[in-house]
Amino acid sequence: MVFSALPFLYIFLPLCLLAYFITPKIRVRNAVLLIFSLVFYAWGEPKYILLMVATAAVDFFAGVLIDKNRGTKKAKLFLFLAVLLTLSSLGCFKYADFFAESVNSLFSVHLPILGLSLPIGISFYTFQALTYVIDVYRGRVRVQPHFAKLLLYISMFPQLIAGPIVRYSDVCAQIEERTCTLQKAANGILRFCAGLFKKAVIANFAGELTEKLLGGDLSALSALGAWTGIVAYALQIYFDFSAYSDMAIGLGQIFGFDFPENFRYPYAARSAHEFWQRWHITLSTFFRDYVYIPLGGNRKRWALNMLFVWLLTGLWHGASWNFVLWGLYWFFFLMLEKLWIGESLEKLPRAVQHLYLLLVMLIGWVFFYFEDLSSIKAFFAAAFGANGLVQITQRTIISNHSLLLVVAAGFALPVLPFLKRRAQHFLQRKGGRVMYGALALCFCVGVLWCATAALVGSSYNPFLYFRF
């Protein structure tokens, strides 16, 4: 199930809220949340739910055994086995075919292609399970003696399928005890509604524009169409991804959890380094704390460690060479800033720094969107004018979407926080607070209404042809 589906909004969520808030007992609430989370996952993956439960079981038993054998070599062995088993499910379902296909084409052998479909959320929940078992080994968190609680952490439906990657240490105390207040719930609702609007309305319309421009014949793509297309894709991917995090964090707040932030206006960054402090934060900090630093961090072979981390970051986003290329692309710019242009970049006017990052980021998304090298080449040819600068149909498409582009850009850049800072004095006064509250109320209802309409509209499907 996904958040942006009508059965989730109008069946699953009301029933879950009702069952959750019917009693204040934390044990019952945890049980409700666990049952609903399992149903949530099984709705999308009726079979692979066993894989998720098995992953949780492996890391649960590993945690117990590591704790029992603390300080001995056995603890290390159990950690190694747990990490290996957890990652092997990811490797088997996500990377086996990619590896086999690559080896087959390189060495003309015939490794079997498994053709397994990717279980939903596997890239997220395996990492979450790893944070538990590794942190138990490191002594940063206490071992969890109840399997149901660990399973609740791994399967909790708000963050299950698209992050943020919540660490066990972030929420272990909250699983035992958490407070639900009216204001926290109201803020959570606002956050959830904002996410719903970003996903169901803005991201989907931006996706439509991307498809219209980049989804067709690239040899007919004008330079204007190519650049607008990739801007639309950048907006689509940001609104889609950050919307899921917003909805997850908002739902978490409603249930009394505090999940970590995942996006902080990444497109407002001024360098590649800063971009990655603002984009998918929980992933980059995961790789920092669980891969980069254990490898030696800044102390030894740091460049090699970086290369490894960025290869993994690329591969994490998808099992395909274009993602590897995308990871290396960012590695290149991070190294470039570190070794060469970083300091001189900071001395440039801010506008130039923003322009630099936007250009680097946009070109980066080209490797993300197109999966094969020939399309990437065709896109760059189009972007630099090989098929003309402007083409009339594409210009009409773009001008039809001009309001969308303006609105989306406004929300992707920190315009709202800027306005809020400006109005701070006003908001502290009583009248200002009342107006803010009224605005929030209208926003919540209006956005829910628009998002529902957009979701209903996704089924608007007039038949153009007879189906014989």
């Binding site: 009301p14 079979k47 204001q183 319309f205 628009c450 007879f466």
Partner: protein, 138 residues
Amino acid sequence: MKLTYDPKAQVSVAPQEKTDAAGSLPRVFAFFIVLLFCVCLFGGFLVSALDTDKTVSESENRALAGRPHFSVQAVLDGSYMTDFEAYYTDTFPYRDAFLSVHHALSRLFSQSHGKDDAVLVDRGDKDDFDGQDLDYEA
């Protein structure tokens, strides 16, 4: 390159989190937000559970998806869930009103009318559609 976190960057660029600071919601509005959200969700839930499902969409000239048959097999291969989502979305209460809001949004953001305006007739799998009937063999 350090992948370290700059705590200053967090403070200065974390406006998404600042909801609790200066402009915190007055309690009464927090109450109304929670109330209205629940009214919308539970209202949607009850109305969609109690209303009678339409079988045909006049505005699209097509048969709407029907309630899927429940079977263990269909649940295990996931087709029940997919069919149920299609059915639920197709028969959502006040669907035509929501569709007109969607068209307004489409006009605003993409100047288009959903997928297309030209509509022909589809019989679907239903026999209870007694609108214009075309001779398929013609």
